[in-house]
Symmetry: none
Subunit: 417 residues, 2 copies
């Protein structure tokens, strides 16, 4: 099955947004063994869209379109496909009810062009949109299937994964036997990792090993081909073991698991509750931790002690420590964590204080960071970092180091019963 | 001048990297008034690349190619273009010296395929690559110009800006005076906005008005063409005034300014300090507010009162309120904000409580959100929302509503001196 992706939207041709949809779809199709031979982007222009559709039909079995399903007059995708394959647009009652309910629930007036979103190509298979109003469609014409998906990634991605992918896998009679496993590393650079594994990377062909650096993390993608799933897993396990022998201390998780998610999972597994005291990071650490459903079973709460006097008044850090060592200090980080643990009655606590920049603070350079941890050992713990990068990079890296530090310490920790 | 961008590389069709090159080039061409009508991506495949080149030549004046200029056998771009326009490849001495020197300087052996990178299309204009080894080219054929640029953004971007852009501006006889102004709206849907402005959108040609919805916000891009900058601004101001007359209450800022940045700017301008009490949002609001350098002049700190007992113990919400109304209530939101204002000694405070989902809480549906505000009026203020979407969407939208709500209230607020 040869596929082609057509992205519709003048905002793409004006460079106002990056086309991450084409990347996402290509990636997923590659995994199930469908070849993508072209990605095309056209604007909200009926003539050029129709020309692109005609061409795609002539050379591809599967044409996936994103965008142009919105309520406004410049949304032309379903109209153009319907014209090309000679079918009318008809109201899809289920989608219409969904849209009407959406407005009713919110007590908002529904405009006529919202109704337009419930129009679908006659005889097409409708793909439900659980995150927006435009339904997707599968419309067949002779040997070619046109798949119409909404443009906003928040709507397109779940529709692709939950509605379309099972359909496609069924169409091609099961997944071809290529599997990837991603190993995630932190605290080691890409070139160091590559140097440590060079002979493996160069000699291994099944699975192949591909390193990739991104946002201070490095991943290794192991890709294996084999018709037998058990054999696939055996080959992946074997290679993973070789890698772990050399750089296992830096490995923290698999596939798409972020450091924060891994921490969340580990806190859950250990039934360990946590509290936070954030200055440098201003609540971003707890904001990320609470993005996971079920966070309330491990996260007690936190104090964002941004102003210095708030560290004393709300958190209870002693004036003496601040006067003697300043707020950008290991002593302050340790007291912040200890106070958070006590005030919020948690098993452990983590604190962040430091200089995000751009200016210095207490004569310390931007990137100076102290992370304190309470509750994981009898002795108070902290780490000091000197991080590179701008304000947001420093804050984000501090958070990642905090997660990694906690993960390593948690391994040895067990809840007192 | 009508342009088309062809991105070459199988890694794009496999979804291994995002095509930021096409976005970058489109953006820059839009600024100088060159229309991009198509973006096409093809793999490292001679037949399909040639087909794409043929088609581009037939419909575009300017064909910009990125990628496929590397040293390996699957790099085919210049070979394919040379074939199409019937020119041989010849060594470019300057590039050859540059490459030889590169290896000499680093004491590395130079391989034969590195020499291949110095081959250029005969009679083409060579674009120097100061960040890599593959030179770019401008090759003309009849009415069409082919521009060949390297694929790595680190090489492509400086070559585009420093070598190609001056050439293109010269070609089109100076920059056409096109300017955009983006108006940002919140609290109104795209279709409602369009309905309210339909006659303007349809009748206005200079500036044009283009709506775009993204993450719960809507923007209107006004694009004006005029040789005189003052006249440009006059035309933009005139259209903006017409728009503001109708939907001004939803407009909060310009261009790339986020709601949170606008709030930060307004707090600064009013010298108003703020504190937070976050349950639903878990610190994400303060995490975003502290992303701006200078946040300490307006942000005092916050309490992330995630567990119910923390709302009482650390924040000081009364047990009675929680027992009688629950934590998902306007009463709790109001007390959270009032307590944060008092505990953290700020001018104003904002609180977030609600159900992020996926499950219900206190028998309330996911998306039920209460935002409390203290300090902006004698009476306590709150708003109740029923937000759609998954867990993170609910949290993000709650934060945006909170910003928008504060922004509107702050307009009427002045610091007591």
């Amino acid at each position: 099955m040869n596929a082609e992706i057509i992205s519709v939207g003048s905002e793409l041709l004006l460079g106002q947004i990056v086309n991450t949809n084409a990347t996402f779809i290509s990636q997923k199709l590659a995994i199930i063994g469908v070849n993508v031979f072209y990605q095309t982007t056209v604007g909200d222009n009926s003539k050029r869209l129709t020309e692109a559709l005609r061409q795609a039909r002539s050379r591809s079995d599967l044409v996936i379109l994103t965008g142009g399903l919105g309520p406004t007059k410049d949304d032309l995708t379903k109209e153009s496909v319907a014209d090309l394959i000679g079918k009318p647009l008809v109201y899809h009652q289920e989608s219409l009810h969904y849209i009407e309910n959406y407005f009713k629930k919110r007590n908002k007036p529904m405009s006529e062009n919202n109704r337009k979103q419930a129009l679908v190509i006659e005889d097409s298979q409708v793909l439900a949109n659980h995150f927006g109003m435009a339904p997707g469609m599968i419309a067949s014409f002779e040997d070619c299937q046109f798949i119409l998906l909404p443009g906003p990634p928040k709507e397109m991605k779940p529709m692709f994964l939950n509605e379309l992918l099972p359909y496609l896998i069924n169409q091609i009679g099961g997944i071809e036997s290529i599997t990837s496993r991603v190993l995630r590393f932190f605290g080691i650079g890409e070139s160091q990792l590559e140097t440590d594994l060079l002979d493996l990377i160069e000699s291994q062909t099944n699975p192949t090993i591909a390193p990739l650096a991104n946002e201070g993390e490095v991943t290794l993608r192991l890709t294996v081909k084999h018709s037998n799933i058990e054999e696939q897993n055996r080959l992946l396990d074997e290679t993973e073991a070789l890698i772990m022998d050399r750089v296992g201390e830096y490995m923290y998780g698999y596939d798409d698991t972020s450091l924060m998610e891994q921490l969340f999972l580990q806190l859950n597994e250990k039934r360990c509750t946590i509290a936070t005291a954030e200055s440098l990071t201003g609540g971003k650490f707890s904001g990320l931790l609470t993005s996971f459903s079920g966070a309330s079973s491990v996260f007690r709460g936190g104090v964002v002690s941004y102003a210095t006097d708030v560290k004393e008044s709300v958190l209870g850090v002693s004036k003496d420590v601040i006067d003697r060592h300043g707020v950008i200090s290991s002593e302050c980080a340790i007291e912040m964590a200890a106070s958070a643990k006590e005030k919020l009655n948690s098993d452990i606590a983590i604190s962040f204080t430091g200089v995000a920049g751009p200016g210095t603070q207490e004569n310390k350079e931007p990137g100076t960071v102290f992370i304190g941890i309470a509750g994981l050992s009898a002795e108070p713990m902290y780490c000091q970092l000197n991080l590179a990068g701008g304000r947001e990079a420093v804050r984000d890296r501090a958070i990642k180091y905090g997660c990694f530090y906690l993960l390593n310490q948690l391994k040895r920790w067990n809840k007192a019963e």
